[in-house]
Symmetry: C2
Subunit: 295 residues, 2 copies
């Protein structure tokens, strides 16, 4: 039996790794994506990285996690904001043509969901909803070890869920969408627009720690929207556990304690005692581990 290769293709870095049966990274290579040099350049680079890491070994299959939107069934990356210039790139066909093995493509949140469900904070659970709160808000639903892509690859695009139709809007998302309030970008933008606080979400969290009332108001609003989003998902799917990761969650107790309370407030009384929310465990490695698990 050959090895399984995971490729984590991000806007900044590409990582290629082999992962053992316990979800531990055996070997990993990392290079800059260099999006500005065009997708052919980056795909060439990925091919070289895969050749290097698999030297002397047989490859069984290759999994790729990449920013959405993408079509996992066709294996095509569709113009993601984080990979400017990549328009309908058939990355699966290119790699399958080169390596003559099965290649699978999934969006980055779904791939991270898979890793967390199998080897991270969702280990041993039948159903796991993974949420990442970072620059954007994304998610992925894993049931019995399989990630749910949806019929056209749009499952888990929870950042675009409408929570407040009269609410705030940015970028191409719906007005009052979850991401427009709860993402790191939203926290930074809201703080700037409402109170002139510069420095993005990191600065906002620093100010909250220092007791700043305005910053606290912004963060509380974000937590409240995130809580409503999670409650909505609980009433749609009732997963055994929510695993929540992403840079914004690094703010720690400041977010976790009120978040837990508020989600409970929004749940049916019979469901509230069953609520389980856990911090993601695999952090930055979830993408490349999940990619290796694909297929």
């Amino acid at each position: 039996m050959g090895i399984q290769i995971g490729v984590d293709l991000g806007g900044t870095n590409v990582r290629v790794a082999t992962v053992d049966g316990q979800g531990t990274i055996e070997q990993m290579l990392q290079e800059k994506t260099e999006v500005e040099k065009g997708y052919e350049y980056t795909i060439e680079k990925i091919i070289r990285m895969i050749e290097k890491i698999s030297e002397g070994k047989e490859i069984d299959r290759i999994g790729i996690g990449a920013p959405g939107p993408l079509d996992p069934r066709k294996g095509v990356i569709l113009s993601p904001p984080n990979l400017p210039g990549w328009e309908e790139v058939s990355i699966v066909k290119e790699l399958e043509g080169y390596f003559s093995v099965r290649v699978q493509l999934e969006n980055d949140a779904n791939v991270a969901a898979l890793a967390e469900a199998k080897f991270g904070a969702g280990k041993g659970k039948e159903s796991v909803f993974y949420i990442t709160v970072s620059t954007g808000v994304g998610g992925g639903f894993v049931f019995n070890g399989t990630v749910f892509s949806g019929a056209h690859g749009y499952a888990g695009e929870i950042g675009n869920m409408i929570i407040n139709p009269n609410g705030y809007q940015y970028s191409n998302l719906n007005k009052g969408s979850l991401e427009s309030y709860a993402s790191g970008t939203a926290i930074g933008k809201r703080a700037m627009e409402l109170y002139g606080i510069e420095g993005g979400s990191e600065r906002v969290f620093e100010l909250v720690s220092a007791g700043d009332e305005q910053a606290l108001r912004i963060v509380n609003e974000a937590i409240d929207y995130l809580a409503m989003g999670i409650a909505n998902l609980a009433h749609v799917l009732n997963p055994e556990v929510f695993v929540i990761g992403g840079g914004v969650m690094n703010a720690g107790e400041l977010i976790w304690v009120p978040l837990q309370e508020r989600v409970s407030d929004y749940l049916f009384p019979g469901l509230a005692p069953h609520l389980q929310m856990r911090p993601a465990e695999l952090k930055g490695d979830a993408g490349v581990i999940g990619a290796a698990l694909l297929g």
Copy 2:
């Protein structure tokens, strides 16, 4: 091989049926539920109905669809508003004890979802989200022929999804929940409170057909909330098809045409062309057919 029995336990009627391999009802018995006589009385009645319909035949298994909340894993009905007086009723244990066959319990929307996915408007589709818009708003997600109950039986409780945190509220649901705007009850209540229109949602739809502006405003609001709810589900699960039933949808084109447009408006541009929404086909029989399919 014996027969499979479906039981559709509603607040008003109980139906017991056998269904063939094509989802067609072979035989059916219907009686009044008579909730006011207590759950023991009704369970006795169900037992008699099952005995009657299975006379001279061997029973393979029994499936029950009942109003939620209920716990499908434990087989217990938990104080549903539509079955007053039923508090923690172990209906599965009672029927298993009597008939010595496997008995399964699911909530009514999930059971209808199963029937529509297998033999109704979702036939042949891998993933189906069923929505019922009637007194309340409920739903069920079927993937590869299996209905998703959730870890504690709360999957598909989409009526409690928050769409507008500053919005309207009734009963024990969340403020601005989908059901608080889009259900038949909500349409009737809104019409009464805002414009003094009596007669519930049916009267409101009559008035819309007659060109009444106020009634139209109420219905448009309901459609808009339903559209946001569907778009949210599409961004969470991206099912191949949405199957939508329930009394409110009987208003026909009045609802369907604007609903389709508005859902598309709320979807990612790449997802909008893939949107498929179909009217439920099995109507009142979905419950008893789906119950027979359980397990």
